[in-house]
Amino acid sequence: MIPLSHYLVLSAMLFSIGVLGVLVRRNAIVVFMCVEIMLNAVNISLIGFDNYTDQVNGQIFSFMVMCVAAAEVSVGLAIVIALFRNKPTVNLDEFNLMRW
């Protein structure tokens, strides 16, 4: 059996990569992809814990996470499309009409 800590470390690393991606990328869609990496990373932990305690909660949870991810993606991409209609770019650094 693979120890739980392995899963946790993998999950943490992927999560961090996701965070890093959010921080360094300017393309809205890629940033969003990085958020998906984070969600996925969490799923590993969730199921890892399930494995450890022999429960089903984690799997249900990750199931819900997928639902949420799907919902978010549909809305998020809709937002991007709406945005793109007004201003044909997805570069986040060009969106600072509102600041200070």
């Binding site: 059996m1 120890p3 470390v9 300017r26 992809m33 997928m66 991409l77 809709a78 499309i81």
Partner: protein, 169 residues
């Protein structure tokens, strides 16, 4: 034995994730993301969460990523991230800081994870992670979340419609 499978998959998933972050073209990122998700499906299988592994492939790698690709294609996004990527240099301090931060987070999380004494999972019941088991839970104990999720999806659907429909009013 299992570790021999685990390590390569984990390694590939990490590489794929890094590729998502560092790939210049959005399409490349998306493709890497699909790769990563497939790897994760493998991990899930190793965790005996078969149902989730299937969903991972179907929903994530399938539906969600297709949507991503579709939008990227639709908006014809390519390359314009390159200039932006170069512009990163303008803000070197910020990049360094970001890197340090993320490494810090990573270190912390890893530190915590390894310090936990959870090294060996409990012996699992046979039907752990099967569709039947998860489905049963979903329709008994977790029927409420399941129903709530439907509202969530409904809302998302309506929302996507409202935002993306082309008619400008």
């Amino acid at each position: 034995m299992e570790l021999l499978i685990f390590y390569p998959i984990a390694f590939v998933s990490i590489v794929a994730a890094l590729l998502v972050v560092f790939n210049k073209s959005p399409i490349g990122s998306a493709v890497s993301l699909i790769g990563m998700m497939l790897c994760l499906a493998g991990i899930f299988v190793m965790q005996k969460a078969h149902f989730i592994a299937i969903l991972q492939v179907l929903i994530y790698a399938g539906a969600i990523m297709v949507l991503f690709m579709f939008v990227i294609m639709l908006l014809n996004l390519k390359g314009d991230d390159t200039a932006a990527w170069a512009a990163r240099d303008k803000n070197k301090l910020l990049s360094v800081l970001t890197g340090v931060l993320v490494v810090g987070v990573l270190y912390k999380i890893v530190d915590i994870a390894t310090r936990t004494e959870l090294n060996s999972p409990a012996p699992l019941t046979d039907n752990f992670g099967t569709v039947a088991e998860v489905g049963k839970a979903l329709f008994t104990d977790y029927v409420l979340p399941f129903e709530v999720a439907s509202i969530l999806l409904l809302v998302a659907m309506v929302g996507a419609l409202v935002l993306a429909k082309s008619k400008v009013d």
